[in-house]
Symmetry: C2
Subunit: 389 residues, 2 copies
């Protein structure tokens, strides 16, 4: 199997940008990725591109992948749009990894883009709702926050997870995101703020929920032969896993675990030849605070039911045993649906190369990204390692 | 590189089915594909699935891939939705081929589904329009038929292509489709009918345009090791090519050629180690009659400008040198967007195995599928060969 390396990664700011288009945002991310390559990589060297976007808004709906890559001068390059709701970016990354492994590309682009803030409140709820199960969840009136609220409620009842433990996720991720110049909500919050936020869907409050963001991200992948010609500081994608699960939460055996995360993680760990204990740091899908806690358990970072105590122990703080969401996560950095998955890769790339500025953690060797579609209908997990294999 | 074989392929009827859902239609196609496998293939053996759908209607918009595969008992199987407008199915097929070549799957599913007839006329025009360029074509009032009408007009002006030659495409494809039990418009038409059809977008009339269809298709792919355990009558995918082009027709250097078809075909031919002269038969993307003629030229079946004479010569009739659209093509078989690409593979699979019933052509050894998104913003081309490599 051919080795696959990340040779460049970049993103736009995440936030609300009424003067930008989905094309201009993607161009910003793409040029940043190209600029981050150590050597000279001409864009015409890209053999194949994969763009993750949900794109239910009023813009290009068909050919929404090629319509952004043509804007950055890649109109001759094959582009495929992939959509797995909020895991669209992770799925795009997996396709790009597969394309290089299969020998169908030597250089591949994976990226994502979303414009979400041009809709009013009702439309935004619709936007997010489409990633829930349509017939029996959304049409019955369940919001996306409502789905995760059920998971939080159940986790508190089954495992004694506390209000403060949920809020610890928000405090940690805002503290990290405050150091990230690309973050949407670039401010710290206190535990008191986070515990007493305005109710959204009980038990979740405003500080338990990620924002609605515009943004784009892009990752350049290459075969070993190409990567060797470009850099002395490589980041290898050693493991790729993806799994699906019941789209509707109500059809799953448990409200407190996401089977697709477990399955995707097992695949990615096996692919990389490692286990959870080998992961130094991770970017996990914290669309809601409870999602990060459940991810700890499903990824094997702690035992089932102990995620609340785990975050409270400081284990996932920047100076803990396994920092999580050093970028600020979806909570603070933002969550422009299709751009989120490859945005996670941007952070891992920077941390493994020592380029993460004020939020750099020393000594990191192996990272993981975890990207969830819907409430667990599709999950992509990737493992990365600094240096040549 | 690992060899990839089609071990099963099936489709639903294409047509208007007000009593079906996108899920039930896909289930029909999937079960037909599973039933077509010579040996016993358990659905749990499928490692990864790719579903092509445009899906701009009122149903599941996020996670639209996993939402159909879970319905056929594959909720534990990774599924990724791919969308490249009308080439979504071809792109799904390419991802499945890549997954097996990369060693990420031993058995992969590629399929597609679309429900289009539940919308009224205005909405249907919108539906198709979204595959055109949004900002400068669709918003300016250009319909999808209008885009292809410009190509037809230019081909007639540049190359002397006649009204009768355009209509020969419709006559041939309806004659073929009349023999296909799954076809949407299962009737023959005379040259006189086709020449005198009601105007749609001059010079294109009703007989130059494919219908708006509901339908689904599914293809099961396997590594050689798995395929050897299942069948003595294999169909290999020997070549895969995909390319993008300017989404807007107005941004391309010529109105009478599709650069993405040329690039995808070159890739697929190189991948298979063949040239156009080696292709015995093909399913090409005849969303409009002119599209089939331009495809002949771009795929290298005839010289530039000679497609009108080529179809008139009978070369692409069932008893000609290179039969095209034995299934009836999009024109007669129907065009349920996401289902079209893998639907083409169903016909090639059947013809190469001698299972095409009344429309079987004897002695076919190598086939090609050509699936176009929009007016050429993305194109997938695949080459197939009967027997073991």
């Amino acid at each position: 199997m051919r080795e696959v390396y990340v040779v460049g990664a970049g993103q736009s700011d995440f936030g609300a940008f009424p003067d930008e288009s989905y094309r201009s945002l993607f161009a910003t991310a793409f040029e940043a990725a190209l600029d981050s390559v150590d050597g000279e990589l001409d864009r015409t060297a890209i053999d194949e591109a994969f763009i993750g976007t949900l794109g239910v808004g009023g813009r290009q709906l068909g050919l929404s992948g090629p319509s952004v890559t043509e804007y950055v001068g890649l109109h001759g390059t094959s582009c495929t749009r992939v959509e797995n709701a909020c895991a669209a970016g992770g799925a795009a990354l997996r396709q790009a990894v597969g394309s290089i492994r299969a020998g169908m590309a030597d250089v591949a682009l994976a990226g994502g883009v979303e414009i979400m803030t041009d809709m009013s409140g009702d439309r935004t709820r619709y936007w997010l709702g489409v990633s829930g199960e349509t017939e029996w969840e959304r049409m019955a009136g369940t919001t996306f926050a409502g789905v995760y609220a059920q998971m939080a409620d159940a986790h508190m009842a089954e495992h004694g997870t506390t209000r403060e433990q949920l809020s610890r996720v928000a405090v940690k991720n805002h503290a990290n995101g405050a150091k990230n110049p690309h973050a949407h909500l670039r401010f710290e919050c206190s535990l008191d703020d986070a515990v007493n936020g305005t109710a959204v869907a009980a038990p979740l409050n405003l500080y338990d929920c990620c924002p609605t963001s515009d943004g784009a991200s892009a990752v350049l992948l290459a075969s070993r032969a190409v990567a060797e010609g470009l850099t002395d500081d490589p980041v290898q994608v050693t493991g790729s896993g993806q799994a699906s699960g019941r789209v509707g939460l109500f059809q799953r055996p448990s409200l407190t675990s996401v089977p697709a995360t477990k399955a995707a993680a097992r695949q990615a760990y096996d692919d990389a030849g490692v286990g959870p204990a080998d992961i130094d740091f991770a970017e996990v899908h914290d669309c809601f605070s409870i999602a990060e806690l459940i991810a700890y358990e499903d990824l094997g970072f702690c035992e089932t039911g102990e995620a609340g105590a785990y975050v409270e122990s400081g284990a996932t703080d920047p100076d803990g045993e396994r920092p999580v969401n050093l970028s600020g996560g979806l909570k603070s950095k933002g969550h422009p649906i299709g751009a989120t998955g490859t945005g996670q890769t941007v952070e891992v790339f920077k941390q493994l190369r020592g380029e993460a500025g004020d939020r750099q953690v020393a000594g990191l060797e192996r990272g993981l990204t975890h990207n969830v579609g819907g409430s667990g209908g599709a999950v992509a997990v990737h493992v990365y390692e600094g240096g040549w294999a």
